[in-house]
């Protein structure tokens, strides 16, 4: 297992995915359908992460940054 190179390890991971979701048993057109559905769902998930979580993460980092930068002034304004 250790002697495997990254590409063949990725291929092995892909095979495990195929076995678990039973796409190993599907005909090619079914695989296309299944993978495109999965990729679409994954893309949607990533976009949601980018759109919503990034905004909140950004504002959280801003807050943290303001705490570290100017402890006195900004702390008061935040507490209000």
């Amino acid at each position: 297992m250790e002697g495997r190179s990254p590409p063949s390890y990725l291929y092995w991971l892909f095979c495990q995915f195929e076995l678990i979701t039973c796409s190993y048993l599907m005909e090619p057109w079914e695989k296309v359908l299944f993978y495109s559905f999965n990729l679409a769902l994954l893309g949607l998930l990533l976009y949601t992460t980018y759109a919503c979580v990034a905004f909140h993460a950004g504002s959280a980092f801003q807050l943290l940054g303001s705490f570290l930068g100017n402890p006195r002034e900004n702390a008061l304004s935040v507490v209000k």
């Binding site: 495990q16 195929e18 076995l19 678990i20 979701t21 039973c22 190993y24 048993l25 599907m26 299944f34």
Partner: protein
């Protein structure tokens, strides 16, 4: 290992049986796999119905579309959409004697297993881990084959009658006396088919007004026989003596359901080795219960005769018990004797009754003479009466093979069900794609295995079942183990968490839900 015995010291040897629990992640992923396949099954059914795709399975004719639907239930849905995808692992045609190595005809499918075509090539010398050949008597050379050939020349192949009419040959009488002597019972009777022995003789023994207590995982032949008899059937949990005792107590105390009269007969149906689990029945406890509550015991030794016990006499000898304690000893000649057929052994009155009243004796053709001779020769070989120690050596070789194979598989990290001494070794696969993948990968590496899924097993507990044989040499087993190891790593089948789970031996009550203590 730390097995506290509460059953009064009935066992003369340690009883090591384990059924490791399904890991939670594996169970969830198995359901995910089945979910995906079910969705695609619905999609394909939709496409077939709206003629987008060609319908290759059986459907009703156009005129019958308005009738009650024939193919709408889950079994047919499973058949069309899940079984068809992995169908190439079953019904593989073999073209040689199913010994330790077998030849198989190669076949391919160009339309995803709906039809098969033979390439014409024969795959030679596949290590056979699937045939019920426990003592290696499936041979085309040797004493058994020569004797059978001689009898074929003398009697021919067909009997052309039933036992009660003109089909009772002197060979059958000889066989029955020999089987009775082998088992240690008064008398025995042999039938042409093992399945028919169970399904046709249980109705002759019990009827309406009797109670049958049958194990959860009994074979289809026992279930069919019990249902045909018309008796009341109650199921107890697999190999669980507390459950059986509870049922017996209820039966004696409450009697028949409406009238409260005592039951005419109580018959306990158990098997020696359960072929899907690899577990051995707790026979000392069953016999103790049977004697305490005055009921009868029907023991189906299909897989355990010839395979267990120091001299191959079955599960009764394995536990060191008296064969006269078992009222009806049934077994088959298919597994350890390399022939076909079944037998029932017991007291002389019982067997004489069965000779007259059994459906199989009255209507079924009797056994073919070469098959009878094969059984006679193999039984004599096992008993040592042919003057050699071949039989004894085979029984010991099987026991060694069993212990070695099971130990090595457990060390590798697979989940193996069943008793340490059972030659049937189920290896858990769980996920539906791995059923097909395991069968195909093993065949690529020249090893023939039997994989089992729904409906023979519960839907998430699919498994690969290895049947060991005395004909397997250590080299063959080592080759097979190496390939199983490789395939196990490739398919990630090593689920075992190596936690030794002690068997539940404390009394079973309503608050006990789990079979294992965590």
């Amino acid at each position: 290992i730390n097995h506290i015995v509460h059953n009064g010291g009935l066992y003369k040897r340690p009883f090591n049986e384990a059924f490791e629990e399904t890991p939670m992640l594996v169970a969830v992923l198995t359901y995910v796999g089945y979910g995906v396949l079910t969705l695609f099954g619905y999609l394909r059914d939709f496409m077939r119905q709206w003629k987008i795709e060609k319908c290759q399975n059986a459907t009703e004719r156009e005129e019958q579309k308005d009738f009650v639907p024939l193919y709408q239930d889950f079994e047919n849905f499973y058949n069309r959409n899940l079984y068809m995808r992995i169908r190439d692992s079953w019904n593989r045609p073999i073209c040689s004697v199913p010994g330790a190595k077998v030849d198989m005809m190669e076949r391919v499918s160009h339309d995803y297993n709906w039809t098969f075509t033979y390439t014409g090539r024969v795959i030679k010398d596949i290590i056979n881990m699937g045939s019920y050949n426990y003592l290696g008597f499936a041979q085309k050379t040797g004493a058994c084959q020569e004797a059978a050939a001689k009898v074929l020349a003398q009697y021919g192949a067909g009997v052309c009658s039933t036992r009660q009419e003109m089909g009772n040959l002197d060979k059958h009488e000889e066989l029955e006396k020999l089987v009775a002597r082998f088992l240690g019972v008064e008398s025995a009777m042999a039938y042409g088919m093992g399945f028919a022995t169970n399904s046709m003789n249980i109705p002759a023994l019990v009827g309406k007004g009797c109670l049958i207590l049958s194990d959860e995982l009994n074979h289809a032949s026992l279930v069919l026989g019990a249902r045909l008899s018309g008796a009341t059937i109650r199921i107890f949990k697999h190999n669980n003596m507390q459950s059986l005792e509870k049922l017996l107590k209820d039966a004696i105390v409450h009697g028949q359901p409406r009238t409260r009269r005592p039951w005419k007969k109580i018959l306990i149906l158990v098997e020696g080795i359960y072929s899907m689990e690899g577990s051995i029945v707790r026979l000392p406890e069953v016999i103790a219960l049977k004697k305490k509550y005055k009921s009868y015991l029907y023991l189906d030794e299909a897989h355990s005769i010839g395979a267990l016990g120091p001299s191959g006499r079955g599960v009764v000898e394995y536990f060191g018990l008296n064969p006269e304690d078992v009222d009806v000893m049934m077994g088959t000649f298919t597994k350890s004797f390399g022939a076909a057929g079944g037998y029932i052994g017991g007291k002389k009155e019982l067997i004489d009754y069965l000779r007259t009243y059994s459906h199989s004796a009255a209507y079924a053709t009797s056994m073919s003479p070469p098959v009878v001779e094969q059984i006679i020769t193999s039984v004599k070989c096992i008993m040592g009466e042919d003057g050699t120690t071949v039989g004894e050596a085979r029984v010991q070789q099987l026991a060694e093979n069993t212990r070695y194979f099971r130990r090595r598989l457990k060390e590798m990290g697979f989940i193996i069900y069943g008793n340490e001494d059972s030659p049937v070794v189920p290896l858990m696969l769980y996920m539906p794609a791995k059923i097909g993948a395991f069968g195909r990968e093993m065949l690529k590496r020249n090893i023939g295995v039997v994989v089992v899924g729904f409906p023979a097993t519960p839907i998430i507990e699919s498994r690969a079942r290895f049947c060991l044989s005395a004909a397997h040499t250590k080299e063959m087993l080592d080759t097979a183990l190496k390939e199983i190891n490789e395939v196990g790593d490739l398919l990630q089948l090593k689920y075992s968490r190596r936690r030794l789970v002690p068997l539940l031996d404390r009394p079973f009550d309503e608050t006990t839900y789990e079979e294992t203590e965590d």
